[in-house]
Every structure is written in C-alpha cells, then in structure tokens.
C-alpha cells in the first residue's frame, strides 16, 4: 500500500524518496542525474551543433537549413528510412522464432547458445561485411569452393545483401530483449488459454505476442536507431553498391577535407528528428502494452517438451542462423588469417600460421589487448551503474522532468557516433585547463560511457517495465525503507537486465572503432585501431588473425562470466 502523499495526489509516488538510505527532497535525484547528463551528453552536442548555426559569433540558421533541405538529401532520407525499416523486418524474422524456441522449449537449457548467438554482435561491422564481400565477390571464396555456381553469388551485392548483413549483425540485440520478455510470461497465461481451447497459433497471436509487444517496440526502436546511425556496413558494402545513407554522408563531412563539422551536425539534426519520432512512437506502444508480468505469484517458466519432429525443426532453425550469421563471415575471416598469399586463394600449400606469429610478436611489444580489455571493463561498469540509476529513477518518478532525462540519455544512440565523439573532443579540449582529461585514456572511458549509456538504460528499462508495482508495495507495507525495497526487491529482479546491459556495453566498447580512431591519446592503440591499421597499410591477414583472437577471447570470457553468475545466483532471484 502506498503512503498517502500530501503533495501529489494523482500519482502513487511516495512524497519522500529515500535513496541510498538518505532522506532527500523529491526531484533532487532527477536533477542531479540531469546535471551529469548535461555535462556528459548535452554540452558536447551543443558544442558541435554550434558549429552548424554560429557564423562569426552570431546565430545564423540559413546555412544549416540549406544543408538540411538540400534536394540531394531526399534520396538519402528515403534510402536511410528504407534501410532502417528493412533491417527491423529482417531482425524480426530472424529473432522471433529463435526467441520462442530459446525461452519456451528445452533448448533454452543449452546455455552455450546464448553466448554463441552473441558472436555476430561481437564482430565489428566492417569485419563482418568484409567477410561477406570476400565470400561472395567474383573469384571469392564461394566461387572457389563451388566453381560450377557461376556468378550466382555476385547477386549478393545489392540492397538485399546489405539488409541481410546488417540484420545478421544486429539481431542479438532484439533476441536478448525478446527472450527475457518471453521468459517472464508465466506459463499460467498460456495454459489458461490452452484450457479454454486456444490452439498454438491462437495463443501466440492473442496471448504471447500482445504480452511482449511493449518489449518488442523497445527492441525494434534500438535496431531501427542503430541501423540509421551505423557506419561500418554502409561504408564498406553500401557504398560499393552506390547506396548512400545519412551516416556515410555525415562521416564524409566530418573526416574528409574540407572538414565541415557544421554540415555534419546539420545533417545529423535530421537523423535526430527521425529517431525522436520513432522513440515517441515506441513510448506510446510500450506504455499501452506494458504488462506487469513479474508479480508476487509464482512464475513458472513454461518449458515445453518438444516432440521429436519439432525438436529437429528447432535445431535446424538454430543451426541455419548460426551457419549464416557466424559461419559465412568467419569462414572468410579465418581462412584469410591462415592464407599465405591472398592472390592465390584457397589452394593446397597456400596456408600458414605465420600471420598469428607476427600478430603475437607485435602484441608482445604493445599492450593493445590489455588496454582494450581495461577500457571495455571500466566503460561497461560505469555505464551500467549510471544507466541503472537513470532507468530506476525515471521509472519511479514518472514526472515530465524524468522523461526529459530519459530522452537525453537516449540521444547518443540517435546520433552517428562520430558526431558525438567530435562534440566530446570539442568540449573536453575546450575545458582542458579546468579538467585535464583530454588526450588521456580517461577521455576514452568517458566517450565510451557517453556513447553506450543508452544500451544500459534500455536494457534496465525493459526489465523494469515488467516488474509489478505490487511487489514494491508489499515491501513497503512490511516496513521496508525505499532503499531496502530497492536493494532486496527491485535490484535482484533487475540483475538479469543489468547483466545483459553490461555485457552488451562490454562487447561494443571492446570493438568500437570510430571513437577510438579519433579520440585515442597519442601512442595508444586499441584492438579496433590495430586491426584497421593492418587493413589499411599492413597485412589484412594479420588484421583478420587479430579479429579471430578477439572473438575467441570475448566468447570465452563471456561464457565464463555467465557461468559464474549462474552459480552465484541466489534462489530468490528465480521468481
């Protein structure tokens, strides 16, 4: 039962909020968070957008408007939107059956699948697209394996191929959100429907799917927004087929002379506008279709035993996804890393491990690997703590201010990374005298935290939306202080979402390229810039060998970690 609140009678929000065991005025926490976000996100964005609208120290919008309304943009806008929608559709088709299988059948017990299905996301987009290009191109690996297939594989170089590669890269996002959501649907719901005679598809259509539509909207938004701001794949594959999107144009203004940050900012303004509209739509859907599924009642996870035939079909589906999403790009990556001379392709006697030796040799003299790991761990941890606090606060206060806070927290996801990174550089370089963070490793951590905060916010929000108010109220009724309630009820229920958020941030910080290539302090090389340097000027094979080592490392570290967490899990979490 909520305390009667003297100040606001409309909301069942306690008038006094205790946070970290301290009595504070309501709204203090949101303002505090707001302030941190202003420094981390808003000021850098203001710095770069000022370049678009400030001419000789006064406001001048005509240039920005001219850039935005350039008729050439129309094709780019329609291309961008088309790609975004097609990739959302593509990921949905890949993800939905997988999520159902993993959440609802005995295959869910195969924990290794969780980690393996994360591999496409661990693969840097430019490596995955390069893998596909090497496989599908004329005289590529596919034609070398199957010479009789003719030029069939070259059909890959089309819009369909682009959508395929991007969907296969990003589907783990959607999968982790949907799987969590479906797992939280109590089997009771479906069984009641079954008792009343609902068939499988009826139950799917009228019970399960509506129950997860709110979470699906979150996942779809993430995929849509990420696709719009993605640079790696459109730059490697998209440009090759003459398919230009906003992100590539923005990069062009930012890193090709004549450098024009202002035009890059103006163009990303259009992108932010589109993404904000998508976010409002998602909010509308999620609020309307938010079902508090995690309540006090026992929540049996309905794990259905499949019949032999269905089991085979399910395994077949999973295998197909793994082969296409991981098998094909990694076949190219691994074979490139062991081919002696690339001009002679897959041929007997043309294989060697020398590239790995070269790699280990150059890794011994530099601590590239260690720097990347430390960067990923510290960024993921800070982003997770910050993201959790933001998501929880926003959820508890439900005021207009907190909505704004959430919107700001999501901004980094809507901008192509490079725009925010340049903003961060402009801002932290400007205040170097007061806070000498620029040109240190600290600025990289800060940039990663800023860029990847949206993930943690979205993951925690997605799990929060399913937790019933009644659990919190029960805790309060029995005299638990808000902090106690948070620590003993909310937090344990969130652990899974928080952990997934941390994992995603870790993975993406470990492989981030655009940020590292601009903001890294002198003499500092991380995994991604190392690979890029090998691609540009050294040996592509050594770069690919590094990519292989990185994925092996990430996969084994993550599976060890998730095993560890599983073992530590107290029974209380398994509601």
């Amino acid at each position: 039962m909520p305390e009667p609140s003297p100040k606001s009678s409309t909301q069942s929000v306690p008038s006094r909020v205790y946070f970290w065991g301290r009595r504070q005025r309501r709204g203090l926490l949101p303002s505090l968070i707001g302030l941190v976000l202003v420094v981390l996100i808003v000021l850098p964005i203001v710095m770069i957008f000022a370049r678009a609208v400030m001419v000789d120290g006064r406001l001048e919008f005509s240039g920005a408007i001219r850039t935005m309304t350039n008729p050439e943009n129309l094709t780019t806008i329609s291309n961008t939107l088309l790609l975004g929608l097609a990739v959302v559709l593509g990921t949905t088709i890949i993800t939905l059956p997988l999520a159902l299988i993993l959440a609802r059948t005995q295959l869910g017990r195969q924990k290794w699948l969780d980690t393996v299905l994360m591999i496409p996301f661990m693969t840097p987009p430019y490596i995955a697209s390069m893998g596909w290009i090497l496989f599908m191109q004329k005289r590529g690996l596919f034609q070398q394996l199957l010479p009789s297939s003719g030029a069939w594989s070259e059909k890959f170089f089309s819009f369909g191929g682009l959508v395929l590669v991007m969907s296969l890269h990003i589907f783990p996002f959607m999968l982790s959100i949907l799987k969590n959501a479906i797992t939280n649907i109590s089997a009771n719901m479906e069984e009641s429907a079954a008792v009343f005679g609902g068939g499988f598809f009826y139950r799917l259509r009228r019970v399960s799917l509506p129950l997860i539509s709110g979470n699906y909207a979150i996942g779809a938004l993430l995929v849509f927004v990420k696709t719009l701001s993605e640079y790696g794949t459109p730059a490697t594959l998209g440009r090759r087929i003459g398919f230009n999107v906003f992100a590539t144009n923005i990069h062009q203004y930012a890193t090709i002379s004549p450098i024009d940050f202002g035009r890059a900012a103006s163009l990303s303004g259009v992108l932010i506008f589109i993404c904000m509209a998508a976010w409002l739509l998602q909010n509308h859907i999620t609020t309307r279709a938010s079902y508090q599924l995690v309540g006090g009642k026992g929540n049996r996870v309905g794990s259905k035993k499949l019949s032999r035939l269905s089991l085979i079909t399910a395994w077949f589906l999973i295998a197909a996804v793994i082969i296409v999403a991981i098998g094909i790009p990694y076949f190219s990556v691994i074979s490139t890393s062991v081919i002696k001379l690339r001009g002679y392709g897959l041929a007997a006697g043309n294989f060697t491990f020398a590239h790995y030796l070269t790699l280990f040799e150059s890794l011994r003299s530099r601590s590239t690997f260690l720097v990347s790991i430390m960067l990923a761990i510290s960024s993921a941890s800070i982003a997770t703590i910050l993201g959790t606090i933001i998501a929880v606060t926003v959820n508890r206060f439900k005021s207009r201010l907190s909505k704004v806070v959430e919107a700001i927290g999501l901004l980094p996801e809507m901008l192509p990374g490079i725009v925010l990174v340049i903003g961060i550089m402009l801002f932290w370089n400007r205040i170097y005298r007061f806070l000498p963070l620029y040109n240190t490793i600290g600025i990289m951590v800060l940039a990663y935290v800023t860029l990847f905060l949206p993930f943690t916010i979205q993951y925690v929000t997605s799990s929060l939306s399913q937790i019933g108010e009644n659990l919190i109220q029960a805790g309060r009724a029995f005299g638990g202080s808000p902090f106690y309630v948070f620590r003993r009820i909310t937090l344990p229920l969130l652990v899974k979402g928080i952990f997934v958020g941390w994992t995603m941030t870790f993975i993406i910080s470990f492989r981030e390229l655009v940020t590292a290539s601009l903001v890294a302090p002198p003499n500092t090389l991380v995994v991604s810039t190392f690979i890029m340097r090998e691609f540009e000027q050294g040996s592509v094979s050594v770069g690919m060998a590094m990519a292989v080592i990185c994925v092996l490392f990430t996969t084994s570290a993550l599976s060890a970690l998730s095993r560890f967490i599983d073992r530590q899990k107290k029974p209380a979490i398994n509601l």
Partner: protein, 366 residues
Amino acid sequence: MRKLLWLASAMLVCLGLIGCSGSEPDVKNTQPSSETSSADTAQREPTAQSDQAQTTGSEPEALTGKVVVYMPSPAGLADKLAAGFQAATGIKVEQFQGTTGEILARLEAEAANPVADVVILASWADGLSLKNAGKLLSYAPANSDKVYPTWKDDGNFIFGTSASAVGVIYNTTIFPQVSADWAELADEKYKDQLAIPDPEKSGSCKDFLSGYLNNKGETEGWAVWESLAANGMTVPGANAAALEAVTTGSKGILVAGVDYNAYSSKAKGEPVDIYYPAGGTVINPRPAMILKTSPNVGNAKAFMDYLLSNDAQNLVAKAYLLPGRNDITSPNRANVSDIPVLVTDWDWMVANAGAIAKKLNTICAK
C-alpha cells in the same frame, strides 16, 4: 538550492575521479602509455629548465621533453621515424596515427587547446589548404635545399619529405602483362575488370584526377573517365579496399592506385604488379609542416630537420615511398626520374578537386 549545487559539483568531481581511476590500471599496464606518463612527470622539470634557458637567452636551447606528431600511414614507417628521432635527439615522440581525414578532424576538434606540433598528411592539396588558412609556421629545415623544387612551397611552410604516385596496378594471374595508357583501358578486353579507389576517400586518387583534368582540359579529360566508367569501372572503397579487390582477383586492374601499397604487396609475393602509364601521372608529395600553434616549437623544428636527414630519408625509401631529397634514391621501386609526370597547377587542383571526385563517383555508380 545551494545544497543541490554543492551536491552536483561533488558528483561532477566524483565522475571525474571515476573517469581517471577507471583509466589508472590501463596506464599502469600499457607500455606506451606508462612510458608517456612517466616521461610526462619526468619531463616536467626539464621543460621548466628549458623555459628558463629560453628566458635567460642561452642560445643552443637544450632540446628535451616531447614533440607531438600527427602522421598518416604507413604505420611501420611512422613507428620507425618516431624511434629514430628519439634515439637521435632524446626527445620523446608522441604520435597519433590516422588517415589524412582523421588527422584533419582531430586538428579541427582541438583548435581551442592545440596539442600537435608537427603534422604530416598524405595529400599535397590538403597541406596547401592548411597553409592558405594561415595555420602553419615557416621554417626551413636542414637539407631543405635538396628537396625537389616542386615539393616545397615558396614560403618554407610545407615540405614534401616523402611522396607517392598513382599508377595502374594489375593482378598478374588475370593479366600477365598490361601497359595500356589511361584512355586505352577503355578497351573491350578490360571490360568489367576495372576498379578505382574512391577519390572522395583517397587523397592521392583525388589529386591525380584533378591533375589529369587540369592537364588535358575538362572536355577531353572527362571523355576518358566516362569511357572507363562505361567499361564497367567500379569503386570498391578507399586505397586499401580497392587494392584488396585486385589482390584477391575480384577485379583485374586498379586504375589510379597508390603505388607504395602495390610495391609492398608485390614484395610479399602477391600476384600484383604496377606501371605508370606513358600519358603521365601525378606525384603527390606528402607535406610535413609545423603548426603555428605548436606548443614545442624547438622540438618541432628538430623533428623537421630529422625528417630530411639521411636516416629518415632512407627509412622513407625502405617503406616504398619516394624520398623527398633528390640526392637519395630508392633501390626497390621506380624513382622520380622514371615516372612520367603530368604538368599541373596545384592551385587549380585544390579549387576543383572536390567537385571532380564527386563527379567521378557519380559516373561510376551509373
């Protein structure tokens, strides 16, 4: 309200601390970084001393501390130059490596508190732009009299301490021998085998195209490129990606490919070869310059001197680039005297290159 402000600032400080402490282990574990940081602390004193030395006016100023250099690839060369300079002078080199575009973006982003002393770019046109924007410091390094006259400007602002040229790179398993001039590549036997680096991303390809059009005139020049585009020429990506397409055999011929990459691939044993069409090409000096805002001017000048020293010039030659000094030749590639060159006007090229690059991409996408 005051409490709120106080709390807010406390939070900010915490955040800063988190940022720093999060990075601390990295610094300890990173060899390069830890060296930098210890060098930073160690050099604080010497820098102060050299400041004093300057103020007291004692002439040959003691060179200590660091120099911050922004260099494009090839990475191996950049590392060797940094190590060589450090060994010769004891000055620590802090280098940021990136593409020309990344370097320019970084310079622009840190304009408020400049960090870099010396900048090297891969495109002469971009060096000229920096000079025209008044961002450079004039200094004539030792040996600059031996630099090819067209590889330096008249105000001693930019020096081509190395250079690359573009040529035609071909896969020898597909075409054992090619020697066609630019226009002859429109021949039927090269149908769908042509690739060109994206001139909007490759400075050397962009400078070549604008040089070609400047030399031949726009009508005649574009007729050639349109005939190549009609012969199925595609744009696989920037320099590396375009060469990649030819190395792996997806395309047979790379038009206007940058030469040093091809020489190093060939040396590894890859089936590629390169020639310079008789019609002539553009040699693109890679400009080295000191920024007007350089915080360590003395060290920056010493680094420029080093770039034109025998040691550095030989390192340049070993990286398959053309040395900037006319008295040093490269044993493993075509030298300046072997390369047929188009007579071009750089000012015209700087003004028109952007539009030309864009147009080439458009006609190839058709």
